[in-house]
Amino acid sequence: MSEIKTIDARGLSCPQPALLARQALQKAGKGTIEVLVDTTTALENVSRLAKNAGWTVNVENQPQENYRLVLKK
């Protein structure tokens, strides 16, 4: 099983969650990447970005309105 890279973007303001995710997706090319965010805006932005780049997005709700996105390609 390949290692899952985690991007912790919690607490960061626009556009950093999407920028960090984009850089990670481009660097990895394929595989599985986990992104942690704590606003719905960041959730939407990272999801849209990943889907547009051809990754599948699976969202898990976590306590205190945090979200864990699992991006796969």
Partner: protein, 367 residues
């Protein structure tokens, strides 16, 4: 409700929001607001600063209900859709400073990005160099973001923190309605502490209730759709994401059509309302504003709406803008229809140096 939310957070959300603002802003001008200034997120904060006596330029003093409504509309939307999430701690002092500098730049141009697009849609071609400057400022900000610029992480705050800005807005509304004048000038006439312009742009406004409702509608829609006049350009360049850009295009096109329909489209460079023709500083002012907005994470409207959903750092930026507009008038930085202020160009240069220093030095501190 969830269907509305899904629509507003879809790709059509920013388009709808931009279209609605594109209709309402020119209509506000028709109903009394200053020319090409149906809504301006910097000029209106400047008017509020004037009404509170923080700056004493007698032509620009009024408590603008659009600002009050905008923040409260975002607050209502955030509450309704469970996005009210008080937070703070991401370099609030630096955000305050960025708010001040953004206000300096915008008042050298004479308008925030919202008004830049509205001026364009009204035929004020001086806005073109302003918008080019805005884009240039955003590009510089993106260079810093790519080099690792960050104002650091916020953290969750008590619910009470998120109620501060809505409470401030309600207080402003009370002051607007009561308009206390318990001070006395040298001749013994009543004056202050709240000042309203009797002539000039500050005296031009739509009915309070109309402005307030327009603000509420815009704040509600913009909070849901994440409408942002700076993020729109930034995301296209930085992320190849044109989600927000369509909102700005809808905004400009609909405002243009509405201005045409209302007889408010007057193309040209000269004779424009609350504008000057100094292209260099129309450009330069907006480079500074665009850079400061990008480093802070969004346009002045977005900062206002984030304040409504409990973001204490965005609230610091908004507060910095209010204070910055006051300094801009007290220190002859703000332009007027006659041209740039005596120290406007110098303030832009100093502002660019300070923003560059912030862009180069601010990094997330680990651990």
């Amino acid at each position: 409700m969830s269907a509305i939310s899904r629509f507003l957070t879809s790709r059509w959300g920013p388009v709808l929001t931009g279209g609605v603002i594109g209709v309402l802003a020119p209509v506000l001008v028709k109903l009394g607001n200053p020319g090409n200034m149906g809504i301006c997120m910097v000029c209106f904060n400047r008017d509020i600063a004037g009404a509170l006596g923080l700056q004493r330029a007698s032509a620009v003093q009024y408590i603008r209900p659009e600002i009050i409504g905008g923040l409260l509309g975002a607050f209502v939307a955030a509450m309704a859709f469970r996005e009210f999430k008080p937070r703070t701690g991401s370099a609030p002092l630096v955000r305050f400073l960025l708010g001040m500098l953004a206000a300096f730049g915008a008042l050298v141009f004479l308008g925030c990005p919202w008004r830049a697009y509205l001026r364009l849609a009204g035929g004020d071609w001086n806005a073109i160099l302003g918008i080019v400057g805005l884009v240039a400022g955003i590009v510089i900000g993106i260079l810093f973001l790519r080099r690792g610029f960050s104002l650091g992480r916020n953290h969750a705050a008590p619910k009470a923190l998120g109620w501060v800005m809505p409470a401030v807005m309600v207080t402003l509304l009370v002051l607007l309605i009561v308009a206390p004048e318990f001070g006395r000038d040298a001749n013994g006439n009543p004056t202050g502490p709240i000042f309203f312009s009797k002539t000039g742009p500050g005296s031009q406004h739509a009915l309070l209730i109309v402005s307030l409702v327009v603000g509420l509608v815009i704040g509600f829609l913009a909070q849901r759709s994440r409408f942002c006049t700076v993020g729109a350009v930034r995301d296209v360049i930085l992320l190849r994401d044109n989600h927000l850009l369509y909102g700005i295009l809808a905004f400009v096109v609909v405002a243009f059509i509405t201005n045409l329909a209302l007889g408010q489209f007057h193309p040209g460079f000269t004779g424009q309302l609350i504008a000057h023709t100094d292209g260099v500083w129309n450009f330069g002012g907006m480079v500074l504003a665009g850079l400061a907005f990008t480093l802070a994470g969004g346009c002045p409207g977005r900062q206002l709406f984030l304040s409504g959903e409990g973001d204490g750092d965005a609230a610091m930026f908004v507060t910095g803008m209010v204070v910055g507009t006051a300094f801009a008038h007290n220190f002859s930085i703000a332009s007027s229809s006659a041209g740039t202020g005596a120290y406007g160009p110098l303030a832009v240069i100093i502002g660019l140096v300070v923003c560059s220093a912030i862009g180069l030095t601010m990094r997330e501190v680990k651990g």
